[in-house]
């Protein structure tokens, strides 16, 4: 059974990584491990999850819906945001006021930043943020941390490179913050135009994060524990020539992995396009598919905790 919580999670909203302490994060990961080790069918029998994705999502949505089904609960979902009331001009506040009556917990993704925070203030039932614009995606951070802990047997004092589009990639924003809480040394590897934005750096400085900036991963490889790759999107570059210049630098190939440590692992929030060469999939360093799988257990843990069925 899950171990005793040091803090209360029942009816709690999951909106931003900034709402969680180190102890609370560790507790979520501990509960997730219980669900990974042993299925808990029937735990949330009679509980209804409303899955409101106003923006496309594959992994987050599927894993939340699957997590609820595996715990014995059921799911009602927005089939297509384009056919929902919001497309007819209904405000988010009104949509939430209606939907909360039909369910026990809401998971939502919305293109506007702060949308999940607003929904949580309106809804009497707990709300889980599945991504709000470029702002937060806390459940992705929990599953990233779970995967890091699983591969490294610890979270403290690791050397982690966050690579690719650090400007627009929300997953790296919250992950950098959470890792800094655990005393990681962070290496931000990105073209200058896609480096960590000022508001994220301000948060990191506030908690005295250890970090450095790099434009190329080559020199770092031998000291890294984790290489967290993200996709660089062509459309982020106003000049296509600029994109072509950086395109190859951030592609992981077996050649780049020659000097890595034994415990070194590659993570990626997926989908990948060409950041990780397919040849890397067969190396012991590839962990991104297991990472995606871990989303299921972390989301089961969150649902069970906020429904008051795990402590």
């Amino acid at each position: 059974m899950p171990q005793k919580a040091t803090v209360g999670f029942k009816n709690r909203d999951i909106i931003s990584i900034h709402d969680f302490s180190k102890d609370e994060i560790q507790h979520i990961l501990k509960v997730a491990k219980v669900y990974k080790d042993r299925p808990h069918p029937g735990l949330l029998k009679g509980t209804i999850l409303a899955s409101l994705f106003f923006e496309p999502s594959t992994r987050t949505r599927f894993s939340f819906e699957s997590a609820m089904e595996r715990l014995g609960g059921s799911v009602i979902s927005l089939a297509d945001a384009k056919s929902s009331s919001s497309s007819k001009g209904e405000s988010l506040s009104d949509s939430i006021r209606i939907v909360e009556k039909y369910c026990d917990v809401i998971v939502m993704r919305h293109p506007l930043e702060g949308a999940a925070r607003l929904a949580a203030e309106i809804s009497k039932n707990p709300v889980i943020n599945g991504g709000d614009g470029a702002n937060q995606h806390p459940t992705q951070t929990f599953l990233d941390l779970f995967s890091i802990q699983e591969t490294q047997k610890k979270l403290s004092g690791l050397h982690v490179a966050l690579v690719g589009d650090l400007k627009y990639g929300r997953t790296t924003h919250s992950l950098a913050y959470a890792l800094a809480l655990f005393g990681a040394k962070l290496y931000f590897v990105a073209p200058q135009s896609l480096q960590m934005p000022d508001h994220i750096m301000r948060n990191l400085k506030k908690i005295k994060a250890k970090y450095s900036f790099h434009t190329h991963p080559d020199q770092l490889m031998s000291k890294l524990d984790i290489f967290y790759a993200t996709r660089i999107q062509r459309e982020r570059f106003p000049d296509p020539l600029e994109y072509e210049k950086v395109e190859g630098i951030y592609v992981i190939t077996n050649k780049l992995l020659k000097k890595v440590k034994k415990n070194f692992r590659i993570l990626h929030p997926l989908p990948r396009v060409n950041e990780i060469n397919y040849e890397v999939d067969d190396t012991p360093y590839a962990y991104y598919f297991e990472q995606a799988n871990n989303g299921l257990y972390v989301r089961q843990a969150l649902l069970a905790l906020i429904m008051g069925k795990a402590s």
């Binding site: 931003s16 405000s91 506040s93 506007l112 930043e113 949308a115 702002n135």
Partner: protein
């Protein structure tokens, strides 16, 4: 006979040391257009501290601390003088409140507060220079990015 540029008031509030050009915004902020008594706006006075300043005089209204603190967001140098029977009875500096609700707009166009029916809320991070954090989109903004709702 002495020529007065702005006459003294008997009862009310004088907001002094307003940065030049911000006097009009203070009138909007405090909804003084709806105040039924006399309101005087003076612009471009010489000031040793600021170079140039605006002054707003509100007759028969004593600003409370909340109203005074709102002013700090757009005019951090302002002083509030409470006048009774032509005498200055209290002089205070404005102070930015720790939580700023429903006064300024979020400068992030993708913030939910610019699209839904919701009162904006910011947390004061630093008073000088002013830096606030949006409760919803979690972005930081300095004084230059803040506009009144």
């Amino acid at each position: 006979m002495r020529a007065f540029r702005v006459y003294a008031i008997k009862q009310g509030t004088v907001i002094d040391h307003i940065p030049e050009g911000k006097g009009v915004e203070i009138i909007e902020l405090l909804s003084l257009r709806k105040w039924k008594k006399v309101v005087t706006l003076g612009m471009g006075f010489t000031s040793r501290k600021l170079g140039a300043k605006d002054i707003v005089k509100i007759e028969e209204k004593e600003l409370n601390q909340d109203e005074a603190n709102k002013i700090a967001l757009i005019a951090p140098t302002a002083t509030i003088n409470i006048i009774r029977n032509f005498k200055l009875v209290r002089k205070t500096q404005v102070k930015v409140p720790r939580v700023i609700e429903g006064i300024v707009k979020c400068a992030n166009p993708a913030c939910i507060t610019n699209h839904d029916h919701v009162r904006t809320r910011f947390y004061l991070e630093k008073a000088k220079p002013l830096l606030v954090l949006c409760h919803y989109c979690e972005r930081y903004f300095d004084e230059s990015a803040l506009t009144l709702l």
